[in-house]
């Protein structure tokens, strides 16, 4: 921040007081972020350079430079987990955006009972993920699950063990995520929709624009910032998927639902490989950081263009 030199002199006492006050107000926030975000990140970076194995304290904690990263590079399980994670992010985010847009368009219209529908749409999002995951685990159960009942009714012989099949298990986790978080995308997109003045539609209608034209020429361009924000949040959130996998499948069967975060958790908490687990966390952090940088640049430009 640069302040023109001539104004500093006359405004100094008041300015300084105000800036002190601002700093005081900002301090708690900054301290919070420092303790709960920066410190863990730095500490993970630090841990990732050591070989720390809880079960072998005799090894002490040798500094191994980038050995953990080298090992991660050659780790086929990690590569598989990375591919699973990207697959999960791509499919779930795409579906959530489309479904969220559809939901937002519906609840943006005025009709009787809209308040009720708006509240109902948010319910899945308000349920704790662990509870929702457990529910989906039951729904997918091979003997008393709702899914089998809906598909096959009383034809017990056709009942499928969804979570025991590598392909379906991944699909089940993705569906659970879509069910749970589409509402979040809908909420943000709805906020964008609310900012569009009705006059625009009225004018378009007078000019003879069809519903599709009104949607593509007015609605979509105007809610683009909201869409991008929703996309940013959903991508980052989907990348950190852990609880669904933890409850529904524990990464199985045959690692088909093993995502990076869960693999890191396993290494760190189950196997006690603190250094290697931290390396995986750092990788996840770097990927999310890169993603968000791309989005934020993109997003920043969009908003600048839309709001001159």
């Amino acid at each position: 921040m640069t302040i023109p030199t001539r104004s500093v002199h006359c405004l100094a006492p008041r300015r300084r007081r105000e800036r002190l006050f601002a700093a005081a107000l900002l301090f708690p926030c900054f301290a919070f972020v420092a303790v709960f975000a920066f410190y863990p990140i730095i500490h993970s970076l630090y841990l990732s350079l050591y070989r720390i194995i809880l079960g072998l304290p005799g090894l002490s904690q040798p500094f191994v430079y980038l050995e953990n990263y080298r090992q991660l590079w050659g780790d086929a399980v990690a590569r598989h987990a990375l591919a699973n994670t990207f697959l999960f992010v791509a499919v779930s985010t795409t579906c959530e955006m489309l479904l969220g847009l559809a939901m937002a368009l519906v609840i943006n219209r005025s009709f009787r009972g809209r308040g009720l529908i708006r509240a109902a749409v948010l319910i899945p999002w308000a349920i704790p993920t662990v509870v929702a995951s457990q529910m989906w685990r039951f729904i997918n159960n091979d003997h008393y699950g709702l899914l089998n009942f809906l598909l096959y009714g009383s034809d017990l012989a056709s009942y499928q063990a969804w979570l025991a099949d590598p392909t379906f298990a991944m699909a089940a986790v993705v569906v659970a995520d879509i069910w749970k978080t589409s509402a979040f995308a809908a909420l943000i997109i709805l906020a964008g929709l609310q900012t569009i003045p009705d006059e625009l539609y009225e004018a378009a209608r007078l000019d003879g624009a069809t519903a599709w034209q009104r949607f593509t020429r007015i609605t979509l361009p105007l809610i683009k910032p909201a869409l991008l924000i929703a996309l940013l949040f959903r991508t980052m959130d989907a990348f950190r998927v852990f609880d669904l996998v933890f409850v529904m499948t524990q990464g199985g069967p045959a690692d088909a639902t093993n995502v990076l975060q869960f693999y890191g958790y396993k290494k760190m908490f189950a196997e006690g490989l603190l250094g290697y687990g931290a390396t995986i966390s750092v990788l996840v952090f770097l990927i999310i950081l890169a993603l968000s940088l791309v989005y934020v640049r993109f997003l920043g430009r969009e908003i600048m263009e839309e709001r001159p």
């Binding site: 194995i53 809880l54 079960g55 072998l56 304290p57 005799g58 090894l59 399980v77 005025s110 091979d142 003997h143 017990l156 012989a157 063990a161 979570l163 025991a164 099949d165 590598p166 298990a169 009705d198 009225e202 499948t249 524990q250 990464g251 199985g252 069967p253 045959a254 690692d255 088909a256 396993k266 908490f269 189950a270 196997e271 006690g272 490989l273």
Partner: protein, 451 residues
């Protein structure tokens, strides 16, 4: 005109909300109120801790949700009655051994002093001892006392010549079968796995909606136990005891895995078994939907309880089958009692452990919860055998039960093996020869870290 009115109504609440803040909202005062509330909360929380301590001693026991909660409540009540002023706080962890391990080690890693006694799975001794989490119990649990227990269980609780846990009960894989269905077809309990598959085929052909076999094949610790039993029964090994080298790529081990994939999963057993832990597999059996069932001894009580089981009274028990030319060897399981090295109540913790592992409590657990005692002489007790005749059959399996590999890196080894077994069993495309070489190499790498 109508449109406008409607729009006006929609925006009204927004205006009300935004205009409310400037009038009533005084940031300074609000902040002060919050601060006072926060301080109050904190001081009350502090008081709570103090008050509880002043009342007497608290013993913190980390345990899982038991299958018979009422029995554990009774046991804790007896202990509290005999030790006035002592309160036992049971902290209930997850049912799955793997998840239980993750939470327990989390507390130990943090050197929590709010943890005195914990349950230990039989495979954790090496890790807990090497990491310095479990207290060595040699002065309190001398050799003479140890000799009253099954030797293999004591061995599993020993690491580097010291003992770290007192065995509470012993577990081994057992074969449960439907007496009525076998009798109907004039069959005797199978001695080999191929025979089990054949018998299951005969029985399920005539019964609607019933599977041949139910066991635990989800990607978790139980998968290791189940697969180890198949591998040992074919004279294979997970790790060679003499050379310390991984043995999963050897022919007997590969054959056993191949057999499970080709004959059990999706054939004799439902494909859903790949997502089963103990509760799901037992549910199938007690609902009368499985002819054979592999489980730990506790399943006897559950399967014969008419309020929970449709097959009560129709259940038989036998040692697990072997392969032709091999011998039946069940996986050694069971739970031990350990003391946290960071406990501030070590004496009281030991009293609690001595109480839980005493003959009378082991008997009580055997009679009421069907948990198999670790003390050998209880198996000669007439009261016990009168109520639990199944123990006579089980004892033979207990004595020969095989421990899983002993290593401070066991959790890592286990995850590597779980991954391999799960891949080999659930993917028809997986090449077992190649995968088994890969898993053996991966295990070697871990084993060189911790010989």
């Amino acid at each position: 005109m109508r449109r406008r009115r409607r729009r006006g109504r929609r925006e009204a609440p927004m205006d009300r909300i935004s205009s409310r803040y400037p009038e009533g909202f005084r940031p300074g005062r609000t902040a002060a109120v919050f601060l006072v509330l926060l301080v109050l909360c904190l001081s009350f929380a502090g008081c709570g801790q103090e008050a509880k301590k002043a009342n007497g001693q608290i013993l913190r026991f980390y345990t899982w949700k038991p299958n018979q909660p009422e029995v554990w409540e009774e046991i804790v009540r007896i202990f509290e009655a005999e030790h006035p002023g002592v309160k036992v706080w049971r902290e209930i962890g997850p049912h799955s051994s793997t998840s239980f391990h993750d939470l327990l080690t989390q507390k130990l890693k943090n050197r929590s002093k709010y943890l005195d006694v914990f349950l230990m799975d039989v495979v954790w001794t090496a890790e807990f001892a090497a990491a310095g989490w479990a207290l060595a119990l040699d002065d309190r649990f001398p050799r003479t006392e140890q000799s009253r227990y099954f030797a293999n269980v004591i061995q599993a609780n020993t690491y580097g010549g010291k003992i770290y846990g007192v065995p509470l009960y012993i577990d081994t894989g057992m074969l449960y079968y439907r007496k009525d269905l076998l009798a109907k077809h004039r069959l005797t309990p199978p001695k080999t796995w191929p025979e089990l598959v054949r018998q299951a085929g005969i029985i399920t052909a005539g019964e609607p909606d019933i599977y041949g076999f139910s066991a635990q094949f989800k990607q978790y610790e139980g998968l290791i136990c189940n697969m180890m039993e198949f591998i040992l029964a074919n004279r294979g090994r997970l790790i060679h005891p003499e050379t310390g080298k991984a043995a999963l790529a050897d022919q007997p081990a590969r054959e056993a895995v191949q057999f499970v994939r080709n004959q059990i999963i999706g054939k004799t057993a439902p494909a859903g078994i790949l997502a089963y832990e103990e509760p799901e597999s037992l549910a199938l059996f007690v609902q009368g939907k499985a002819v054979f069932h592999r489980n730990w001894p506790y399943a006897w009580e559950a399967a014969n309880d008419p309020s929970r089981s449709r097959v009560a009274g129709k259940v038989g028990i036998a040692p697990l089958p072997a392969f032709p030319g091999g011998a039946s060897r069940a996986a050694l399981g069971g739970w031990q009692l350990g003391i946290s090295r960071y406990s501030e109540n070590k004496e009281l913790a030991w009293k609690f452990i001595a109480f839980l592992s005493s003959p009378r409590i082991q008997k009580l657990l055997a009679l009421k919860a069907s948990l198999a005692p670790t003390r050998k002489d209880i198996y000669d007790d007439r009261d016990i055998l009168a109520v639990c005749p199944q123990f006579r059959e089980m004892k033979r399996a207990f004595v020969s039960a095989a421990p899983r590999p002993v290593s401070p890196l066991y959790p890592a080894l286990s995850n590597v093996m779980q991954r391999y077994f799960s891949r080999a069993l659930s993917g028809a495309a997986a090449d077992i020869n190649r995968e088994s070489l890969a898993v053996a190499a991966e295990m070697e790498q871990l084993l060189t870290l911790a010989p």
